[in-house]
């Protein structure tokens, strides 16, 4: 497997996934979520005006839940596309990374796996509770950071490491 091909093809696939998710989100989820968020907060204020404090607290809790989900859904869309663009750009410049082809392949695999897993973990946070989604997101972002640091090291080296 060629590392450059892996990064460019993986990046294009990830960009398509991010855009399809964004389109689906804009068409079927976003307006409803925004209405739900605004409606919950307005209900919290109206219930407080009528001195119905338990209902106000409950509506505020609904608002908090909706906003928690909304922030992460938008983050998934932007991070998948952003990371996809980074993969394609790095793929095109992969020839300048002066590691052996085996190391370059491993760094590319780390970048691709991290770029897919990090937003996926964030998306899972909206549906599953518990530590697993956060663990996936943290592991994904750590993979991307380490792989990017290695890429910078490879880009800054003058001579290629011999096979």
């Amino acid at each position: 497997m060629n590392a450059q091909r892996l990064l460019i093809s993986g990046g294009l696939i990830l960009a398509a996934i991010g855009m399809i998710y964004g389109l689906y989100y804009a068409l079927f989820v976003e307006h409803q979520t925004l209405d739900q968020m605004g409606g919950s907060l307005a209900n919290a204020f109206m219930a407080a005006a009528d001195r119905r404090i338990p209902q106000s607290d409950s509506a505020l809790a609904d608002y908090t839940k909706s906003k928690y989900v909304y922030v992460r859904q938008v983050d998934v869309h932007s991070h998948w596309i952003g990371l996809a663009m980074l993969l394609i750009a790095l793929g095109a410049s992969w020839g300048h990374v002066r590691f052996s082809s085996r190391t370059r392949l491993w760094v590319a695999i780390m970048l691709l796996a991290g770029s897919f897993a990090f937003p996926l973990g964030v998306l899972l946070q909206t549906t599953f509770h518990g530590p697993l989604p956060s663990a996936v997101a943290i592991a994904g972002s750590a993979l991307v950071i380490v792989a990017l640091a290695l890429s910078i090291l490879g880009l800054s080296m003058k001579n290629r490491v011999e096979e």
């Binding site: 855009m19 307006h31 409803q32 005006a49 001195r51 404090i53 663009m85 394609i88 880009l155």
Partner: protein, 363 residues
């Protein structure tokens, strides 16, 4: 320089028209998106935040007065303000991102197994949709649901979503053609991007990757330290506002805290996203340098101006909560530096295209 171009043309190492179109369209979209962002930051952002704070204060006064009916009207107004803010941020982001994608597509054009005519058609579709998407998003707030057959989606959303659909379709076709090329033994449909501007490419590549890394590390720190604390603090502030107002108290302090929190969140997220975007743009611009038809001195000047602006903007956006409007002004100047540098490089690419056409006509 003309002789170098002429040599490239003869050896088929010039980018084909689809590549040139995507480079010019991409830089124009990115520059347009940034200019829009600068105008938004100066003329809309703070005013919108102030109006939202005033509306929230009015809502808390209505709670104190027990006037539930007014709250409905006030929240309708807040919804409008948030939509105004959100659609303008989205216009800025989507115009810039469409530009990044155009530059990325320009990079992969040599590996796309399609005829040049088809590639050029797809490039035109992509650029047109890249313009229509942010225009549609911008219009959502102003067009609303006028004459719309749907109770939730207006015509501006239809324009934006259709443009998004076209972008996806082009991306899918290009991916398929790329896959086809990668799985065949065909030679490249055009020559790869040349690497004859070493200093420029090396500086942009390494500086760009470093900016992206800094942005990632900051983003991880933000997610770990700030994100959940901000979410908890927002709920706490709303609880406090409602609790004070329902006891007929003055919620001004709570509303001010909410404004401060919103500003803190906005600058931290903007610092994270802008440093990564500029890093990515630097990497992409490293590939465009061979086609910037300017003297080496001017090419380097534009690169240094671009990198300086790329560092100044996110740094001073981050400092805005500490230094106030002074930092905001410096950040805007950073954005302007990036826009000027992009315009300089774009002028170089257009000169290159013009020179090529002159050579083509003379042959």
């Amino acid at each position: 320089m003309i002789s170098q171009l002429s040599h490239r043309l003869n050896t088929s190492s010039v980018p084909t028209s689809s590549t040139r179109l995507l480079i010019i369209g991409g830089i124009t979209l990115i520059g347009g998106g940034m200019l829009f962002g600068d105008i938004f930051a100066v003329f809309v952002l703070h005013q919108n935040g102030g109006a939202t704070g005033e509306a929230l204060l009015a809502a808390s006064h209505a709670v104190a007065l027990g006037d539930a009916q007014s709250i409905k009207t006030i929240f309708g107004h807040i919804g409008g303000l948030l939509e105004d803010h959100g659609t303008k941020v989205d216009t800025h982001v989507h115009m810039s991102d469409a530009g990044y994608l155009a530059l990325l597509l320009a990079l992969v054009q040599p590996y796309v197994a399609l005829s040049e005519r088809r590639k050029k058609q797809l490039a035109w579709f992509f650029i047109a949709a890249g313009i229509c998407l942010p225009v549609g998003i911008f219009l959502i707030h102003y067009v609303g649901l006028a004459y719309s057959p749907s109770p939730v989606i207006g015509w501006a959303s239809v324009l934006a979503d259709s443009a998004g659909g076209i972008l996806i379709a082009v991306l899918v076709i290009e991916s398929w053609a790329l896959w086809k090329h990668l799985n065949s033994n065909d030679s490249l449909s055009q020559r790869e991007f040349p690497h004859d501007r070493d200093w420029e490419q090396r500086v942009l590549l390494s500086a760009g990757a470093t900016l992206v890394l800094l942005g990632f590390i900051y983003g991880a720190w933000y997610a770990g330290v700030d994100l959940y604390e901000h979410e908890a603090r927002e709920t706490q502030i709303f609880h406090s506002i409602l609790s004070v107002a329902s006891q007929n108290g003055d919620s001004t302090a709570g509303v001010n805290s909410y404004g401060a929190l919103a500003a803190e969140k906005a600058v931290k997220v903007a610092a994270h996203s802008h440093i990564i975007e500029f890093g990515l743009l630097a990497i992409l611009l490293s590939f465009v340098q061979p086609y910037v038809y300017l003297s080496p001195l001017w090419r380097r000047r534009w690169i240094l101006l671009f990198l300086a602006g790329s560092l100044i903007l996110p740094s001073f956006v981050f400092l805005e909560t500490k230094l106030g409007l002074l930092a905001g002004g410096i950040a805007d100047i950073g954005g302007l530096m990036v826009i000027i540098a992009l315009a300089g490089m774009l002028a170089g690419v257009i000169r290159y295209t013009g020179a090529l056409e002159a050579i083509e006509q003379s042959q």
